[in-house]
């Protein structure tokens, strides 16, 4: 094995260890409860898959949430019709979203740049509206697709699973997939997904994708037909998104149309850019940061802030609380927007660039200070939030 292969192994095992020990090291952040860790892992899968398209080929898809939704609906239908075991559902989710991605990709990839982005956005919005109102018998519209006692569950009833008075939970060979076991299932899928993404990035196919990003015209002149490569990258990342959507339904047997909304597509773009486009670990970090803000910052309320700042004198405390309360609770978008602005302006390569700079600081010993955030960015951030 050569040196870069060894460093890949180090990266992989480091990543796996970090993911699997999440329940331990997330404790000080108040984020070590199963539902949030599941979200970290699931959106990690989503972002890794998105990065295969956006990071490697540079094609910015604004419609990946459509595949997320398709994955969720597929798994819930598999629960309803076949079995509460998650394995068939997950397999179907990947296949169906792959087919879906092939169809959308085949059309969208006839254009590049902004036209490609708009096409994918249009397709996603179309899927969202279909799921929201037109296909109500399949998707149950706004209410969301849910399990009921009267679902057929053909395989389960053939296997003689006793019908009880309560809706069964999804499981994998007797282990319930909610709570902590659910997190470990998502974590294993994330690690496998990361491994595959690592292999794709280092493979000749990955080289092709990177070549497309650096200069597609030159590729075409040298005799390569780039479209099949692009289509495959699109399908693979669509399958990752479908897998993530399926996992959402594994940990929580429900599928709603809002998963396909353009905001969800935008979110994965944010995750990838925030973490670092084209890096392997970056998208996962971005997913963790955004989900952390969404779940933890949005839960702070004024009485909790009063407790935090209780040490301050009363008048000052009220001022501090009323200022900070703008940034937590329902104002969490504002904080996220600010942070996004700061990262994009000062660390165009995302959080991973920050990590590299800090690494250089210690590793090579070439001091390089980071610019502090100025007031101007604060205002821009507010406009964005």
């Amino acid at each position: 094995m050569n040196k870069s292969a060894i460093s890949d192994w180090v990266l992989f095992f480091g990543f796996a260890a970090a993911i699997l020990t999440m329940p331990v090291w997330l404790a000080p952040f108040g984020a070590n409860y199963p539902d949030l860790m599941q979200k970290f892992a699931i959106f990690g899968v989503f972002a890794i898959g998105f990065n295969i398209l956006f990071g490697l080929t540079g094609y910015l898809s604004f419609g990946h949430a459509a595949f997320l939704g398709v994955g969720s609906y597929t798994v819930v239908w598999s629960y309803k019709l076949l079995t509460m075991n998650i394995i068939p559902g997950i397999i179907f989710a990947v296949i169906v979203s792959g087919i879906f991605a092939f169809l959308i990709g085949y059309v969208s990839l006839r254009r590049s740049g902004i036209y490609f982005s708009i096409l994918t956005l249009a397709f996603a919005q179309m899927s969202y509206n279909l799921a929201y109102s037109v296909l109500t018998p399949i998707t149950n519209g706004e209410t969301g697709l849910q399990l009921t006692l009267s679902d057929p569950r053909i395989l389960d009833s053939m296997a003689g699973v006793a019908v009880t008075n309560s809706v069964p939970n999804p499981s994998v060979f007797g282990i319930k997939t909610s709570g902590l076991p659910g997190f470990y299932i998502c974590a294993v899928v994330l690690i496998i997904g990361f491994f595959i993404a690592l292999r794709i990035t280092r493979s000749p196919f990955g080289m092709m994708l990177k070549a497309i990003k650096s200069n597609q015209t030159r590729m075409a002149y040298t005799g390569f037909n780039t479209r099949p490569y692009l289509l495959w990258a699109f399908v693979i990342s669509g399958m990752y998104a479908g897998l993530a959507g399926g996992l959402l339904a594994v940990t929580d047997p429900l599928a709603g149309a809002e998963r396909m909304q353009w905001t969800a597509s935008g979110e994965v773009v944010l995750m990838t850019i925030l973490g670092g486009v084209g890096t392997l670990v970056g998208p996962v970090i971005g997913a963790v940061v955004i989900k952390y803000f969404e779940n933890i910052f949005s839960s702070f309320n004024k009485s909790e802030l009063h407790q935090v700042f209780a040490a301050l004198p009363d008048g000052l405390e009220n001022v501090v609380v009323s200022v900070t309360s703008m940034f937590v609770g329902k104002g969490w978008h504002l904080t996220l927007g600010l942070m996004f602005m700061i990262v994009v302006i000062f660390l165009p390569g995302g959080i991973m660039e920050g990590v590299r700079r800090v690494g250089r600081l210690f590793g090579i010993g070439k001091p390089k200070t980071l610019k502090p955030a100025s007031v101007a960015t604060t205002e821009q951030g507010q406009a964005n939030g």
Binding site: F12, G30, L36, E142, T143, I175, S178, T201, L254
Partner: protein, 455 residues
Amino acid sequence: MSKKKAPLSTWTRRDVLKASAASTAIAGAPMFFSRHAYGADFLNNPGDGKTVTLGFNVPQSGAYADEGADELRAYQLAVEHLNGEGDGGMMNTMQPSALKGNGILGKKVEYVTGDTQTKSDAARASAKRMIEKDGVVMVTGGSSSGVAIAVQNLCQETGIIFMAGLTHSNDTTGKDKKANGFRHFFNGYMSGAALGPVLEKAYGKDRRTYHLTADYTWGWTQEQSIIASTENIGWTTEQKVMTPVGAGDFSQYIAPILNSDADTLVLNHYGKDMINSLTQSIQFGLRDKQKNGKDFQIIVPLYSRLMAQGAGENVKGIYGSTNWHWSLQDEGSKAFVKSFGAKYGNPPSQAAHTCYVQTLLYADAAERAGTFEPCQIVSALEGHKFDGTGNGPTEYRAEDHQCFKDVLVVKGKDNPSSQFDLLEVVEVTPRAQVEYAPDHEMFAGGDLGSCNNGA
């Protein structure tokens, strides 16, 4: 950009096998240790702790954010009263009551809040945070039936009590009813049953209705209920159009109404959607029109004072129904309005009222049961009869966990005396008129299932 040349194929099959075996082992190990993490006899048992935590899950953004904000105020007031602070509000008027004003079962009440964003996913994520991280014994909230049903399902699955806030869909206690879920608020069927006779008296027996309906469980069931009720008095239904929640602009839906044969518009909208659709209907001049020789009329089956405030002048003379209104003169309502007004400076909305009452009812049930165990609380609430909470004698029916009580038919006031005095109560429809059998066709198909303690 890395200039390093990527290694092409350095992994042998054996490497891959080794790696996958290793990662499976690492991944499997913690699962082995953590499967039976909960040792208590029910989920989130506060045990010997000095406090108990409740989860308030309301929309703080989206089309129903105004209602959510008012619900949160009511919850905070209820917590104060339960802990013996403030003037006690309805704690003094509720009959029977086991509440002592020293928290619940001697434990101080604390609370956590969350934003449902009026989305099922976000609401469930937020409820899960409360259950898994904050250890709540009860989740309450709502303001969208889709969200309420999703969270009720979650509470049933995990084994936590869900006290529904503002949710008006028939399905919440109909086909989606759950043993761990309880609803104090009224529903679409009751609105229809209460509105029917009043509309007949006001607008006659011969009208053609045009429905604009929010496209989700609440809109569907309310539309169905109103149609059943209006067709019962001889009206016909011209057209039914679904509109997305949070649409903002309804002009594209309103223009076709002018060209139809309908002479009555039914707006099955709520929150900001209702404010927008009603305002735009008025701007399009619908109410100045004559159709079929009659004045064009608009009906808003589910009304609230917050919406009336948002729509301003436009609500004048428009009929609707409501669960409760702050102008009621019974002791419970007066006590609640007084303490809410003293704390926040404005009267409570119907959403605030139902959330406040639900919190007290939960606390009372826990006191009577002597435990926070969900199944015990379910039996304490089932068939529970109480009074003094603003709606007259009320009963939690055991068959579907729906409260049965009087319903108010209201109308937008022509000459409001203050910015809050926007609705007048036209009729208090007695409970008997809005009651239905548990297996009524609009509520059939569901099953409470058995209660879940979650451990």
